[in-house]
């Protein structure tokens, strides 16, 4: 069955139509473009394009899989709002996948090392998690400074890193960075959710992983306007 995957948790916007069968996950069409402020403009045309390339119509979709972050808020919401709308409009389930998992999927099944996946959280910080063989996430996704992540790299015995954030802060993380998988792939997101798709698990509300509170402070008392 055909599944739409999409992710807007990083500077990259991506959408894919993926075929999930009993034993395989096959990409039928995928689009990606990197523009940190372009998610809203890019995503819907990508969805239309991947459907057209796959020779499918919206009614052929059986599920929507969306990356739930962590990621910069405004872009992240574009993907989740679009995915939720498509799911509701078609009456098909939506499934959320941690966006870092789509990069962590590069950790091969028979590998027993530790891999850091890190994306850019802006404000000089990283969204990150650590994976081991078979794309198993061994830490909760978090947002931290490169120095804190560097400490965790040593403590958890991480030997390699992936993701745009790892590239950006490679000198401060002091770990080798692999060149592929800078951004989540929409195909990989669907792959991560393939079991839920196959057993037609109940759809889930798409809850964003913000990991930060909104910047907001209770107001101070009004400033005096008369001279003292």
């Amino acid at each position: 069955m055909l599944v739409l995957g999409l992710d807007t948790a990083t500077a990259s916007t991506t959408a894919a139509v993926v075929e999930v069968t009993a034993d395989r996950v096959v990409g039928r069409a995928e689009r990606s473009a990197v523009d940190p402020r372009g998610h809203a403009e890019l995503l819907a045309p990508q969805v239309a394009a991947v459907l057209a390339e796959a020779g499918a119509g919206p009614a052929d979709l059986r599920a929507v899989v969306a990356g739930t972050g962590p990621g910069p808020f405004t872009g992240l919401r574009v993907g989740l709002a679009t995915a939720a709308a498509i799911g509701q409009a078609l009456g098909i389930p939506t499934y959320g996948v941690c966006s870092l998992d789509a990069i962590g999927a590069h950790a091969d099944e028979h590998w027993n090392g530790r891999m850091l996946v890190a994306t850019d959280a802006r404000r000089g910080e990283l969204y990150w998690a650590v994976y081991t063989g078979g794309a198993v996430r061994v830490t909760e996704p978090a947002v931290s400074s490169p120095e804190v992540v560097a400490g965790e790299v040593v403590r958890l015995g991480v030997s390699v890193a992936m993701g745009e954030g790892a590239h950006r802060y490679a000198d401060r993380l002091r770990v080798g960075v692999r060149d592929e998988g800078r951004y989540p792939s929409a195909y990989a997101l669907v792959d991560v959710a393939a079991d839920r798709v196959r057993r037609a698990a109940p759809g889930e509300p798409l809850v964003p992983r913000y990991l930060r509170r909104p910047d907001a402070a209770a107001p101070r008392p009004p400033k005096p306007v008369l001279p003292r």
Partner: protein, 348 residues
């Protein structure tokens, strides 16, 4: 059917998640989820808090609106969404959702101007709008006088606030007086027991030189500061602050300038219809004064009921339905949200 298009409208430019369904000039559904209570302790709308609330509310609100209207997505002729002006992050939630529905249901999408939608909503209550018309739009984010030659594209701004929006001044004065956020309704209530002539607060941009340079612009920063000075002087002297009189006199100053300039603009442009919209249009004194002055000037006043004056989805659906009926081309799927969308751009 082509003259009475069935349109779903989505509004997320500020703190209200609004979804309306309209057929021609008939309102079928108007569903709303507001995050106003989450902003109250901050004394103003916090954009990130509003955006988070929109994402949580958008799909349930759309579901509610469709159920209320008794229609399905497949029945729609188009989907309209506020593309600006407004809070960038908040707008994007509505725009992204609207695109999702447009792609999935294969419907045309119209990205529309929030201010033009505030004018269009009046057609749901009072029927087709005579053109040209003048529109006074006053809310927490906007204070504008618009000349509407054609709702589908011929809208121009005669003037707007050069500093605070009128609703912003209400919020700040309410805070000074210890009244809750948003400030409009509690000031309106307090003013009922006060004397609007008790304190002569300044009317911004009404002096002869200002009138020449800014005939249809507004300024509400001065009156807000004048209220602050007056209240502070009272408190410093250890005297009680007569909240009803301050509220009534402040409200009078704002309503006076707004209605005087709106009616003057009608006269100058030979326009005989004035529409008032936006959250501040719910203010009872503004409505009363506008009615009196319009009658004296021979101008027909059209003011939607308060629930349609504040931000809502029905107004976006109303403008969308008007655009479809007028044969306006839909927006493209890559339409952006524009936080500073000029009022001259009715559809993006």
């Amino acid at each position: 059917m082509p003259n009475e298009p069935l349109v779903l409208g989505i509004e997320t430019s500020c703190d209200e998640t609004g979804v309306g369904v309209v057929r021609g000039h008939t309102l079928l559904a108007d569903a709303l989820a507001s995050s106003v209570e989450e902003h109250a302790r901050f004394g103003g709308v916090v954009p990130e808090v509003a955006s988070r609330a929109h994402l949580a509310a958008i799909v349930p609100t759309i579901r509610r609106a469709l159920a209320q209207a008794g229609v399905t997505l497949a029945d729609l002729d188009a989907i309209a969404v506020t593309a600006g002006p407004g809070l960038a992050g908040a707008l994007l939630v509505g725009v992204a959702a609207a695109k999702g529905y447009a792609v999935a249901a294969d419907k045309p999408i119209y990205g529309v101007n929030h201010l033009a939608a505030h004018v269009a909503v009046d057609t749901l209550e009072h029927g087709p709008l005579p053109e040209p018309a003048l529109a006074l739009l006053v809310s927490g984010g906007h204070s504008s006088l618009l000349l509407v030659d054609d709702l589908a594209g011929g809208v121009s701004a005669l003037g707007s606030t050069i500093d605070d929006a009128a609703g912003e001044a209400f919020d700040k004065v309410a805070r000074l007086l210890g009244l809750p956020f948003p400030g409009g309704p509690p000031i309106d209530r307090a003013a009922r027991d006060g004397d609007p002539a008790a304190i002569a607060f300044p009317r911004g941009l009404t002096g002869s030189r200002d009138r020449a340079a800014h005939p249809y612009d507004f300024s509400f920063s001065g009156v807000k500061t004048a209220v602050a000075r007056w209240v502070e002087a009272r408190r410093r002297a250890g005297e009680p602050v007569p909240v009803p009189d301050v509220a009534a006199s402040f409200q009078e100053a704002v309503a006076d300038v707004l209605t005087a300039k709106a009616v003057a603009a009608c006269r100058a442009h030979g326009v005989s219809t004035l529409v008032i919209g936006g959250g501040v249009a719910a203010n009872s004194r503004l409505r009363w004064l506008a009615q009196r002055r319009c009658e004296a000037a021979g101008v027909t006043l059209r003011t939607p009921r308060p629930a349609l004056c504040t931000d809502n989805g029905a107004m976006v659906a109303a403008l969308g339905s008007y655009l479809v009926a007028a044969g306006a081309p839909p927006s493209r799927l890559d339409l952006p949200a524009d936080s500073a969308l000029p009022v001259t751009t009715v559809t993006v």
